[in-house]
């Protein structure tokens, strides 16, 4: 079996006196889709940002394949090209159209010619179903379209792994589906994905593993069936109950997000 794409070892991060991550370790295998869930403020975003070093961890190591990202000698910009990141609030560049958003890093980082970049960007826009919106500015797009453009922007770099930080939690309920659909397709194509999300339907249907993060540590890590039917801790069951209360039973026994 090939080695893991992503390996996280004993990550620690504190903000002042509050310890946010207290020794987090896990691996993600090629093509694997791992969903991270956990209560608010438990360090999920911090964990993702420690992986691509947007937030440098205090302690612990991260590898992308056999490159140690946390090594001071590693060219972090080079590594980040291979780690896509999708944010809760999209963070599209507001002065650029959707397609220019996708093209920018292609020309500035990958040094493609504008024509090459445009062609590549168009391909990605097609993947996320935004060809007809390519020339619009972020402000002219719906939330779902914005997030799909942001996904295209990351995909254009041909990343080895994609990090998603609650990609649908800023969206109106009726727009969540289109983004999850794109992510599902991506997973189907074999993309390695690490997804922070409370969309239990998505987790149940698409993920290979679910990690439950609580108080900065992993308390469950296993396949979704085990997670939903037989969690190790009573606390997990309680949290799942709360999620169902909050978001409805989107991931009812038979999968499909939408109940109706």
């Amino acid at each position: 079996m090939a080695g893991p794409i992503l390996r996280v070892e004993n990550l620690h991060k504190a903000y002042g006196k509050t310890e946010v991550l207290r020794g987090v370790s896990f691996e993600v295998a090629p093509g694997e889709v791992v969903v991270i869930i956990g209560p608010s403020g438990t360090g999920k975003s911090t964990l993702l940002r420690c992986i691509n070093q947007l937030t440098p961890p205090d302690q612990g190591r991260v590898w992308l394949e056999d490159v140690e990202i946390t090594d001071k000698r590693t060219d972090i910009n080079k590594v980040r090209e291979h780690i896509g990141m999708v944010f809760q609030d999209f963070n599209l560049f507001t002065h650029l159209t959707a397609i220019q958003n996708v093209m920018l890093a292609l020309t500035k980082v990958k040094r493609m010619s504008p024509a090459e970049a445009r062609a590549k960007a168009m391909l990605e826009m097609e993947k996320v179903g935004l060809v007809d919106k390519a020339g619009l500015y972020p402000a002219e797009l719906s939330g779902g379209q914005k997030q799909r453009a942001a996904i295209a922007r990351s995909l254009a770099m041909d990343p080895k792994v994609m990090l998603f930080d609650e990609p649908t939690s800023a969206l109106d309920p009726e727009l969540i589906g289109e983004v999850l659909e794109v992510m599902k397709t991506l997973a189907g194509e074999g993309m390695t994905m690490l997804v922070v999300s409370h969309e239990m339907g998505f987790a149940r249907e698409v993920s290979d593993r679910i990690i439950f993060l609580e108080n900065g540590a992993i308390s469950e890590d296993g396949p979704p069936e085990q997670f939903f039917t037989n969690p190790k801790h009573a606390r997990t069951r309680e949290f799942l109950g709360k999620l169902t209360e909050l978001y409805g039973n989107h991931g009812g026994p038979r999968g499909g997000r939408r109940k109706k």
Binding site: R80, F87, T94, V109, A139
Partner: protein, 224 residues
């Protein structure tokens, strides 16, 4: 200086003659303003970037410069830098006046740009870095293009202020609009008419500046 006589009457032909006398200095006022604004834009942006993204030393130095300059009367800053320009580079005249005006507007523009950068939030930088851009590339290709657009309304205001403050350069001997109006006022023993003429010229220049920048704002503003 003398006051207008009790029976002072506005003399239209004198007003027109004053305008005509002052007119050649419009070029000087415009040049002073354009150069000071342009250099101030470059240095002000640099200071703003240093304050937000620079290391502690750069941020502190940039902040201190802005605080000190903004705490002094513009005329005092002007005299100081006018003299500094001579001591340091042996330049005087209009060049020194440009340096002095630049020193002032740099401080104010750095505040405008710093505010704009901070209003962008941290997400834009995070997104740019996550795509593999270096900090410098992110600042150049993502932050600054947005900051410039966001800053246009405040910048338009600053442009009007610099235009008006360029009259202070008369105090260091630059033959700009205000200086010329003093001269023609003295020659005719009628300052009121001369200053009204200067006033009309400043009004027109300010009006045009603001209109042009309003247009730029409409054309380039970030859609939200």
């Amino acid at each position: 200086m003398f006051r207008p006589a009790r029976d002072h009457r506005l003399d239209l032909s004198l007003f027109l003659r004053s305008l005509k006398f002052i007119a050649p200095a419009i070029k000087v006022t415009v040049l002073l303003t354009v150069f000071a604004l342009t250099f101030g834009l470059v240095f002000g942006l640099a200071l703003a970037v240093a304050r937000v993204y620079g290391n502690r030393f750069a941020a502190t130095a940039a902040g201190a410069y802005s605080r000190v300059v903004r705490s002094l009367p513009t005329l005092v800053v002007l005299y100081i830098f006018y003299n500094l320009a001579w001591v340091a580079f042996r330049v005087g005249g209009v060049a020194a006046a440009v340096i002095a005006l630049t020193a002032c507007t740099t401080a104010y523009q750095s505040e405008i740009f710093r505010g704009a950068i901070q209003s962008l939030g941290t997400g834009q930088m995070a997104a740019a870095r996550s795509l593999g851009m270096s900090r410098a590339t992110a600042i150049r290709s993502v932050i600054i293009p947005q900051v410039l657009r966001l800053a246009i309304p405040s910048w338009s205001n600053e442009a009007a202020i610099v235009l008006k403050d360029s009259s202070l350069a008369s105090a260091v001997g630059t033959a700009e609009v205000f200086r010329r109006s003093q001269q023609i006022g003295a020659a005719n023993r009628d300052y009121l008419t001369a200053f009204l003429a200067a006033g009309l010229i400043y009004f027109c220049l300010t009006f045009i500046t603001n209109r042009v920048l309003d247009f730029a704002h409409k054309r380039y503003k970030l859609k939200t």
